[in-house]
Homo-oligomer: 267 residues x 2
């Protein structure tokens, strides 16, 4: 396979840009095509059949862009529709945020409990606990849905008393257990890392699924001899299905740099 | 026109059920068809062109159900696409939550300032201020977007310290002005009424657009001699485009009664 082909990253909206940011840092030579289904975000409140249908459409779109790897940067799609991506991708390697987060959590927990936070759909799917138990059957997993974290991040209240109070309330039951790590099971949550670090204290390690996904992508590309070798500046494409008013502002907060040109794609 | 035809009420999701609830109380003999576009909710973060397109589709669907009146129970659609509904409805009367809220606010403010709260899209559209100024050119309107209120209501934190703190922060600038009334410019907000009453204090009257819409609907049907006269029990139909996990739970909280049978419609 041509090593200079781009990596395809997708999410239901803009949250996956935290994964793109981590990829740019870890794999600075790789071309990236990002697809955000912003016209149909959020997926977390939709039925499984609808999410599977949308996931298939996005996978097909990225395969047409000739990607060499697919990264599911959306916890909801990874939780309920990863099979759909695998089937369509055939010989193209696929990795997802849940696989990456579960791997890192098991490595870092040292036999202690593992906390997992995410949107209600991700948590109710039990996907993190299932993947963690595949890696370590004896692992103790404590999960907590945090439905207000996404709107709080989008409001920009990253260091705000309301967010702190919300985090304290959500995390109380998880912190009451002996947990050594806390998996941030939603691509919005890395933006809350400084605040969450304070709330969980020094004894709990935060597993950021954006950076762990970038690490896993690097390892997989290395193993498959698929890393791009040219050192010319890589191309970054951002394709979205709708360009709402606040997209640019919020997107750049997630990406940590200018978004540049954003393409609009209509189904 | 046949007075026994149903009233069509629509929203981007479930929020409009607060309007249905108010209609059931104010007009207990009317048949109601409710359409909630739950597969594509929320509209507030989509572009105007997308919202207009979706609004046209829903309007056509309800006209095919032979409704005698259309009620736009979604502030976002009323703010940016009410023209689309009017054009397609032709001789079928149309009322919307913004018209109803603006009318009630002007009646109740007695020359004092009017506060308006809503989602970012509703507030940025300036639709409430525009309608209020059509009725009273000299009215002073103070608007404030409250993006976290919808997720807080959907989380069920109707009387919670986080919600109180959020409300205090959002309402501080509005309450610093001489406002006599505060328009709840989002169909989710009536569920926050008890908490908001405490936060705004006794000097500010809350204008609940669900009850004001039901009052306006009653007045309009009366004027057009379109009130249903049979006293047999009315039919209530709920049509949604997706039935997510929490739909029943949240829907019944909004409606204040059992939802009964929910029909699913696919575009």
């Amino acid at each position: 396979m041509d090593r200079s082909r781009p990596i395809g990253v997708f999410d239901s909206g803009i949250g996956g840009l935290t994964v793109v940011r981590a990829l740019m840092e870890r794999l600075p030579l790789e071309h990236i095509v990002y697809f955000g289904d912003s016209a149909r975000v959020p997926y977390g409140i939709k039925s499984v059949a609808t999410i599977e249908h949308y996931t298939a459409q996005i996978t097909d779109f990225l395969l047409q862009q000739n990607v060499k790897m697919l990264i599911v940067a959306c916890n909801t799609m990874a939780a309920v529709a990863s099979q759909v991506v695998q089937e369509r991708a055939r010989d193209i390697p696929v990795i997802d945020v849940i696989e990456a987060g579960a791997l890192a959590a098991v490595e870092q927990s040292g036999g202690h409990g593992i906390g997992v936070i995410g949107t209600p759909t991700t948590i109710n799917s039990n996907a993190y606990a299932r993947r963690i138990h595949e890696l370590d059957a004896g692992a103790r997993v404590y999960s907590q849905a945090c439905p207000l974290f996404v709107p709080l991040v989008e409001e920009g209240w990253l260091d705000h008393p309301v967010t702190r109070l919300t985090a304290q309330e959500y995390l109380r039951p998880v912190l009451a257990e002996d947990v050594a790590s806390l998996v941030l099971g939603c691509t919005h949550y890395p933006l809350l890392k400084p605040l969450l670090k304070e709330v969980v204290g020094p004894g709990v390690r935060l597993v950021d699924s954006a950076t762990t996904t970038a690490q896993l992508a690097a390892a997989r590309l290395q193993a498959l001899a698929l890393m791009r070798t040219q050192t010319t500046r890589p191309d970054y494409r951002y394709v979205v299905t709708d360009v709402p008013l606040r997209f640019q502002t919020i997107g750049e907060r997630f990406l940590g740099r200018s978004l540049g040109q954003v393409e609009r794609f209509e189904w």
